[in-house]
Symmetry: D2
Subunit: 457 residues, 4 copies
Amino acid sequence: MKKLWGGRFKKKIDKDFFEFQKSIDYDYKLAEYDLYHSLIHVLALREAGILKDEETDKLTFALKVILKEINEGKFKPNQDCEDIHSDIQNRIEKKLGNLALKLHTLRSRNDQVVFDEKYYCFEKVMEIGKLLTALLKSITFLAKKYENQYLTGYTHTQPAQTVFFADYLGAFWNMFNRDHHRLTRFVDSLDNSIGAGSLAGTSLTREDYDRAIKKVLIDGKMKGIKPVENPLDNVSDRDFIVEFLSILVIVQMHLSRLAEDFILYSMKELNFISLPEEYCTGSSLMPHKKNPDFLELVRGSTGKIYGNLMAVITAMKGLPLTYNRDMQLDKEPLFSSVETIKDELKILAKFIKGIELNKDAIKKSLEDKTLYATELAEYLVRSEGVPFGQAHQIVGELVKYIEEKNKKVEEISGKKLKSFHPALNQKVIKKVMNPKYAVSAKRTVLRKSPKTRKHKK
Amino acid sequence: MKKLWGGRFKKKIDKDFFEFQKSIDYDYKLAEYDLYHSLIHVLALREAGILKDEETDKLTFALKVILKEINEGKFKPNQDCEDIHSDIQNRIEKKLGNLALKLHTLRSRNDQVVFDEKYYCFEKVMEIGKLLTALLKSITFLAKKYENQYLTGYTHTQPAQTVFFADYLGAFWNMFNRDHHRLTRFVDSLDNSIGAGSLAGTSLTREDYDRAIKKVLIDGKMKGIKPVENPLDNVSDRDFIVEFLSILVIVQMHLSRLAEDFILYSMKELNFISLPEEYCTGSSLMPHKKNPDFLELVRGSTGKIYGNLMAVITAMKGLPLTYNRDMQLDKEPLFSSVETIKDELKILAKFIKGIELNKDAIKKSLEDKTLYATELAEYLVRSEGVPFGQAHQIVGELVKYIEEKNKKVEEISGKKLKSFHPALNQKVIKKVMNPKYAVSAKRTVLRKSPKTRKHKK
Amino acid sequence: MKKLWGGRFKKKIDKDFFEFQKSIDYDYKLAEYDLYHSLIHVLALREAGILKDEETDKLTFALKVILKEINEGKFKPNQDCEDIHSDIQNRIEKKLGNLALKLHTLRSRNDQVVFDEKYYCFEKVMEIGKLLTALLKSITFLAKKYENQYLTGYTHTQPAQTVFFADYLGAFWNMFNRDHHRLTRFVDSLDNSIGAGSLAGTSLTREDYDRAIKKVLIDGKMKGIKPVENPLDNVSDRDFIVEFLSILVIVQMHLSRLAEDFILYSMKELNFISLPEEYCTGSSLMPHKKNPDFLELVRGSTGKIYGNLMAVITAMKGLPLTYNRDMQLDKEPLFSSVETIKDELKILAKFIKGIELNKDAIKKSLEDKTLYATELAEYLVRSEGVPFGQAHQIVGELVKYIEEKNKKVEEISGKKLKSFHPALNQKVIKKVMNPKYAVSAKRTVLRKSPKTRKHKK
Amino acid sequence: MKKLWGGRFKKKIDKDFFEFQKSIDYDYKLAEYDLYHSLIHVLALREAGILKDEETDKLTFALKVILKEINEGKFKPNQDCEDIHSDIQNRIEKKLGNLALKLHTLRSRNDQVVFDEKYYCFEKVMEIGKLLTALLKSITFLAKKYENQYLTGYTHTQPAQTVFFADYLGAFWNMFNRDHHRLTRFVDSLDNSIGAGSLAGTSLTREDYDRAIKKVLIDGKMKGIKPVENPLDNVSDRDFIVEFLSILVIVQMHLSRLAEDFILYSMKELNFISLPEEYCTGSSLMPHKKNPDFLELVRGSTGKIYGNLMAVITAMKGLPLTYNRDMQLDKEPLFSSVETIKDELKILAKFIKGIELNKDAIKKSLEDKTLYATELAEYLVRSEGVPFGQAHQIVGELVKYIEEKNKKVEEISGKKLKSFHPALNQKVIKKVMNPKYAVSAKRTVLRKSPKTRKHKK
């Protein structure tokens, strides 16, 4: 397949090396965006008088035919080509012969590839944003479904204090909402440009490009495409990929925590939640197993998403200006992270809706009185003016006592209770040490109805 | 040294474990911010009627004495304490006895530590922002000093095309300017809160906290401190640290590329720039050596900055809600990255000002005519209407010819030149193949005078 | 403080840069090994006739005085020095004046530092090996203490099949035993050398070095010190650090899994094990908490250990031969990983001995009959010749039935049981579905008595 | 497509989740090894009397038919299957109907997958070992071709001292030789086993497996297959993958350094080496470019190889025993690193043979007298008894002088030379400051003829 270079070369490229260096098997995903670049470029060449109107029309038509194929899902990359840019060039040559040789006038793949990748990031942020919104809605759905449900809250994987299930879910809602904002801030700062050439710009004017951009992208999806300002920076820059991958790292970190929590809460021994069966699998040996495979795969995907960021920043470390071929290796990690995160979010939004709470198991968990030790200490502070440090000590000793005696606090005699502090008795225990009291006493929590929660910006 | 917990414990803590788990040797850096938390908390306790005015005043005074010590650089952390929170508590106890036991009423270290760390991030972003601004100024200084200087531009570490030195530097200016914007966007999205308790909030009201915040931080540095909204999220959240470290990864990536380029350009064989001697070191064996140690250490620090991000995201992977002790390990990587980046930026701003261009060496480099091959191809396109694909082929063959013959292009006979294309002759060669023509023909580059470059937002 | 270079320099080093580049605050840990290098080097200089006997004796004596200080824990690095090599040189100069200037004859810090670091690795492998052996013993102790105890085995964090507790612990024993072998293989392949100079070797002969090595290290700890073979490789090589850090990554991976498991098994809801209180901490707010802090810090340290490997391999990426200053940054990650792993292993060996099993809780867990579903399917295969695929299906449907009916398998009528397969009845259920049957039927497991387990090589 | 589980499930698997969780698109690479497992397993079932001879023969035959397809490259994985184990099971069912249901008796995919992966690692180590051997041969070829060639040696990317080109190449030879040994040590410690079941072993005896193993692998490739010892460890263990990936990280680190060096040495400005054109590419815009793309892609692949290790160790962090679905995600990184390293090594062995030295350019580089500053200092030490510290200072000042005066050392008057040290004169300069003297004076270097270099173990 014809290459976009080669005049100065005496020898043919080594076959193994050709296979090693080609990128068509993954960069075909940029085809659509590459065609946008070509469409603008063709018009800019006409503005500059390098292409005639008729030539422009023919080239534009041929490009749009390929674009249509892509949009209809009919585009098949030619695996004999070096990359998507060469593939498209070859298709145009087949259709238009020598005229096609004018398409690559005054432009470089260095310019194309950064344009294509920025456009890709723009579109994928939009798609991930929608999936996050759907996930937020699923979380709100589940929170509303169990609106006044209490739950044992944990620190250090040990029961800590009672909370509302809706507030527990709200923590994840907040995480994914922050992710949404991060993506929004990122895409707002992302602009795109054309005209960098290889590294030094081209002899087309900024006005040539400007007019061309306006004509092509009249209904354009990505705003802010401009003539390049500093082409050396433009072709060297992969910040946007690192920034995108970093945001996805945080999304994945949240996903891994949700996965871990739901795996724990669905353990036979806690049994707070039942996972929707259609996202679990069984064992080929043990007939009774119903395993939380989806959550495990989500948790395990953290390796992939973290590794992809590491791959790109390692490749970029210490690269001299401007373009170096190392930078080709940013694409696979980018595509991998984007596609994995999309899959996870899409399935998770459905998964969450299928979760059911096992109220009995939760209720039993909430009967453990030590969950209300903090409330008891607060009671001593508020009602009796005991300095908190002492109240903490008193209740701590009470806990030690019931553990040693293997008793429940409600079984302790009034006399014994008084020995810890004169104000303690079973009436106080009953009043203070229960979920309703505990949760309602937490007055800092902002309890918006789930309906009124909104994306803030 | 007294701990903030312990009533329910029968056994004393193991000595090796105590050493392993304590954080005072690094978290003392949060002392200032922890005092802000305490100052607000004390006022909130008064608002809630838990502290009397007199008690409030005493506690506030004692806290401010420690704050003064910190501001005067006199604060020495007590290495026998578990952490900075315990250290401060112990100091207050020494001064105020039992009254100090009221300080920790209704609050948790889980709440304090996230408050402290957010405040730390806020202040460090401000400091790094200033250092970036100074670096941008140094770059502008150097660009102006050599305003009309040409430079060989590289792709693939091979000479590519001629550019302005100011545009070359402008690429780095753009990188660090983007970093500045990233930090600004980050800090704009960073808010802080108080009142999360351990995970479930406290019985103080949002109004109690609100009034307290307003009183303490009347001249406060960090805006946007609020009563907590979702305490489960609040104590679980380390997004801000990952986001900050991710931004520093990009800063460091830029630093590593600048270091690599300057190491190359100061190689004896290129000799484009002379590095300021006061940032180089010699060899203990080889008397002639002047090594670019600063740049090498900057490049090598990339490992540290990347590794620190990896450390925190690995620790956070799959952590169940809410607080887990694993999260203590976010501090050392955070502090390490912040301090390293600050050192690098501070020295680099001075370093850049000391760089000198070796104009003769650059001039010699620019005499290589193949640098203008692209311009020659463009000439054929523009003047002769040769399709670019063919012009590229023609010039490629010319390059192959002069390499085989080991000739310079200006030595080729007119007849031979014509054999490549009828329009080629030495007059054209002379006109087109020189730095001035090449650079001025790049009309896409936005050539702002360095003075007019501004931080955009 | 005097530097080991400087004759060709006109300007003094920048103060900020000096602070940035100096390594004395961490490389003082190499002091002992650096003295070994010097002791050998001095003798080699005498062999070559460059030092006189008297000079040799004076230098040797002065070096040994410092070595004694180190061994007695009295050595304090001088923070004004650049690095430990300069520090030691300065001390010798203070004692011996001009004679000290002969110490650095024909050697380079490039040679010293790689020698020192290899020696450090050698010694630390030995120390970690001993700690692993102690840990293996603790595990064996616990396994013997509960020798015939059953335990619920898990896959996918869901109960799977019954196993012996000793076999469960044996899995960790195997992991740490493999780690021990990995370290042994590593140290067996580690050799050390002297004489590389900066990169090109020195004019001392291999015989000079050979004789000197034999004299100094007559009772030497590290075997296999030799005259350098390829000095370019020698000063460039940091493989041994990456290999050591990679092995520690696997150790840490094992530690993180043990920590996770023990955190789960000590959850209130499983309660299989009680953690020794002296390795737990409480909450400053919640008086009842006893948190598995040690295990959490071990799990969280995974970030540090992974990040340290990442730091070194990132710094080494793409470094040109031979020595570059970037390589200085290998030390902090190396020391950090070694010291952290040592702390973890040391405490864990004690921690494990303090663990107690809660036999009642485990027994209750083992009463869940679905744990024996696999055994029931095997019974149908073995006794009735049912193809396993069908037996799996039959038992799967039985499990579905009891879940839907919320019944226990021992409550199902004989008639109903027969409807799943004619051979099923309560007698079979009773025989097959219990821990003893299940565990004794696993005939592949190699049941060595813990006493007879040995390190294999 | 039929799954290997499902009896207890009421709902069908979600389609998106099925796609997300399936592994057939990559784990088909394990097909061959999975068939080995099945072949052993079938014989073991016969040994245990569970399969009849006739059944055994039919199953064995069916398995071997598939094995033949694989060996002939005709095997196409069925993308509708969940994984390769299910794919093979389905093929057998199509051929043998109900008999096939007996194949999965008493075994688990947990056991199969770890067997398959260990076998894969074994085979790939062998393949990579051969490629490394070929690379070592190429390096030796090039070293011999330029046997007595000098080269400028570098530290800090600055000319340092003169070395033999063969010794320079020998540094890389050593690196790849160490890699070879690391792989050998790894594979020597790698054993494989069968019979773990899901986590608890099976009811087949160790003898059943032993006999089966001996029969199947009578001409088997992987030695050391044994009945499992501790099945809980066996199904949990992925150490071997982490260890393999860690070794490949070091191989890649070496590749990246070689790439960087060769990129530098082929820079137009150094021009020490010419790269074989068939491994370079051109520019689509700039007709004169010949870029070191292969080397850049090798350098850039470092990101991939590092990221793959990070992916697996992150996924394994904190996983509870025993098998978890997260572990499925070890395969793609493993395959990616193995295949990338193989490609790199294969091409590099050819690439190296095509390298040509530009002796003129090297000779010119060696004329720089400062390269011999160290030899001059040594001369003062050896001939005049000047302490090295002073000799270093004297020569340093001489270097400073010639730089300030912009003179060459051979142009300095005898009088001036004497002012630095009485023993200095042009005769000494001439004798000492040249490549031959410098290289022959390095007596530590072990100069084996390339022919006699051998893999040591």
